[in-house]
Amino acid sequence: MSIVDTAKQAAQGLVQGAMTKLVPLAPDSWIPGGRPDPLIDRKHGLIGTPLSRRDGAVKVKGEARFAAEFRHEGMVYAALAHAAIPRGRITEIDSAAAEAAPGVVLVMTHRNAPRMNKPGVFGSSPTAVGSADLSILQDDRVHWNGQPIACVLAETQEQADHAASLLHFSYAAEPSTTSLDEAKANGIEQGVFMGQPLLNRIGDAEAALAAAPHVVDRRYRTPRHNHNAIEPHAATILWVDGELVIHDASQMVTAQAQTIGAVFDLEPGQVTLTSPYVGGGFGCKGLWDHQIIGAAAAKLAGRPVRMTLSREGVYRVVGGRTLTEQRVAIGASADGAFDTIIHSGLSIMTPHNNMPEPFILGTRPAYACPNITLQVEVARMNMLANTFMRAPGEAVGTFALESAIDELAVDLGLDPVALRIRNEPDKDPTSGLPFSSRHIVDAWRSGAERFGWAARGAPGERRDGEWQVGMGCATGTYPYYRMPGAQARITLIREGKAVRAKIEVAAAEMGMGTATTTAIVGAERLALSMDRIEVGYGDASIPGAIMAGGSQQTAAIGAAIIAAHNALVAELLKLAGNDSPLAGLSADDVGSEDGGLAKLDDPDRRESYASILARAQRDSITVTEAASPPLEQLHWSMHSHSAIFCEVRVNAVTGETRVSRILGSFDCGRILNPKTARSQFRGGIIMGLGLALMEETQFDERNGRVMNPSLAEYHIPVHLDVPEIDVIWTDNPDPHTPMGAHGIGEIGITGVAAAVANAIYNATGKRIRDLPITLDKLL
């Protein structure tokens, strides 16, 4: 087995001990990103120019067609019925009234659903993305309160909804665990995330804590959250000659098509899954029961099906972020140097999934420290499977860590910015790897200057009428990820003396601006203008698999385009032949320049793409290539960073907190499109304000039912809650990533809750360690 094959396995989550030892030791030049991407040095191109998003016009006109907006002849509407117990069996189903109701086409329960395979649960194979290790509508078992247990199809949505309300179920309840205390009493296990235990031990952290002159040792709690994308999950589904067609809302088109296909014993080519627009994702737009139930019902009824979850249905069928209980203990000497960090605690998952909220991930590379213990343990509860939600781990982990650092700064009498800079590591303190790019101190200094941090007073010192005013700060962090499996297909199409290019990637556009940045990067790589670039995405028939998750899509696409461009250059040189000015040159000698190829050190030797194609009598050329294995992540410690500054006003009479100012100072590699990047950062920060102050999925510990399954009762920030958000960035390219860029979809939410909590402490002298910081906690 070659080193590359070994490496591919490693990168596919089967990280072997040998591999993780080998890759760090390899010379940089063997590693993707070992030689900086030439685009990093191109300073005057499209990269870094603020450009409006390409899909803006169709979206503002309401012309962008979302999953529930496709129509097919003979289509019927689906409505789901949900279990009302947390665990047990369905003993009786009374469906007579529903079946007799006007317009009803089908009532499907486990008794008449077609036989289906269990969807592969996330992590069980490289393409499996099932939400839980459970079969769907195949038996009488109930696994969570709210589980879909029947589907009604009718000619209209009103008829389907009414008929579903006429279904009656009897249950034989079985013992269930729906309280946190009970779950803990049942047993606690080591959390395992992406095949790796969530456990780091360096030195003896507890002994160092006992010996440390200054100590904070605190417990922090964060509740369940729901993503609440404004588009409810939906799919329009039909069968055509035994093949399945799904118009879906998906962050992972290819893997989702493959997982659904396996449920119905279909080959990969027999599932067409498109998802051109996704109305918000944040981790929730994946494979849940509704697509599989919809496909089964469409098969049974022989009619196309429109499956739209109600807003309540989203809370019953689509999991959110789970709760955490965290301990952060830091021991330090009087000058602020950390002797020890302990960040440990518990999160909750179900018996049927494996998603411990990995709240220690952001702590691993954070601070220089000789003694570190990090651990996430899990207990299990009978509930809907929890899942990834924006910055899983870091969003809530930074709340605990960065609150504790603020508490330590108070104890030491040090400025919290200075305390963080004091403990800046020169290499990753847990992995020992060198950082690929870390300019967090610059981010802190420029942020503090711009925010006016020096004006911060002592706790409880500033007051404006009945409003107490305070400032806080925190570090945010999120890793650079690049997952294996990405491919890009580039087609050059000759049009007279010019060409246009189509770049296709199996990626998802949920509003991050992916289609736009892909066009920017493609135009730069191919040396064509933006208007000559078409981008295809959101379709499982495109080669490769790219997930809009882990903030990795930009890097994955970037690496795939690099590979495809290299292949394109080689193919064009073959076509160019001996009559070209490029004759005799190898692919390493030439690059793209001004609509064609040119010798790198002699740009006069050049030929346009159109000329090469014309002489070869070709109308077009297509290449498809896979990205390099993402070994850079094993060779360097790769992270994005931010310094968040926040000013709050807390009403001394009502306890209400208003965020009056907030600044995010980001160190996230090179920013590709400042316009859409600013929106990404702001969006993350706003979700962080919700996390800090209002968001909580309320879970009834008596019966495991979500109690606030609506946008009226689950509060998210509204316009009046959102101040003008200032965003700056270092714009230092990471020399080891495609384009020097990092993904930026998740970093924004990290650090925000701690910055708000720390500002509230500065305003009021009250330390709240239990999110959300609602007004009752401040009275």
Binding site: V60, G62, Q157, G280, R311, T676, G683, V718, H719, V722
Partner: protein, 168 residues
Amino acid sequence: MSLVINGNAVAGPSDPRVSLLDHLRETLHLTGTKKGCNQGACGACTVLVDGERILSCLALAVQYDGRRITTIEGLDAVGDLHPLQAAFIEYDALQCGYCTPGQICSAIGMVAEAQRGVPSHVSTDLAAGVTLTRAEIQERMSGNLCRCGAHNGIIDAIRATMAAEIMA
């Protein structure tokens, strides 16, 4: 009965349970108006009825006999786009785009309310007429949820475009 939607008379639904939102989306195939919650909590379904903004998910279509309904598809365009639509692109007032039609229709109705002098929760003087400060716009747009976090861009786009004469 008939409804006048974007200037065209169209039949109402035969089933009186059908909301104006579902009638638009499922019968008339005007899917620019979005369904986010179907219970009046998110604003994605906002349309204009005789110039006033309403939540079409909470409206039964049969209640709107003869009324003039304007959806995102029927805004007065200058060229291809209504000026506010153009400003939404310019100020990056959207990401996923799902709440966007509702935000735009709501903003147009909101400005008309302000021009009529309707006060809001943050108005300091109920009799003095309305100046659309940033806070006034934020308060008045708070019924339109956005989860991607385009709030700053949305307010900027509205301020840059709409009814400059009553802006602060």
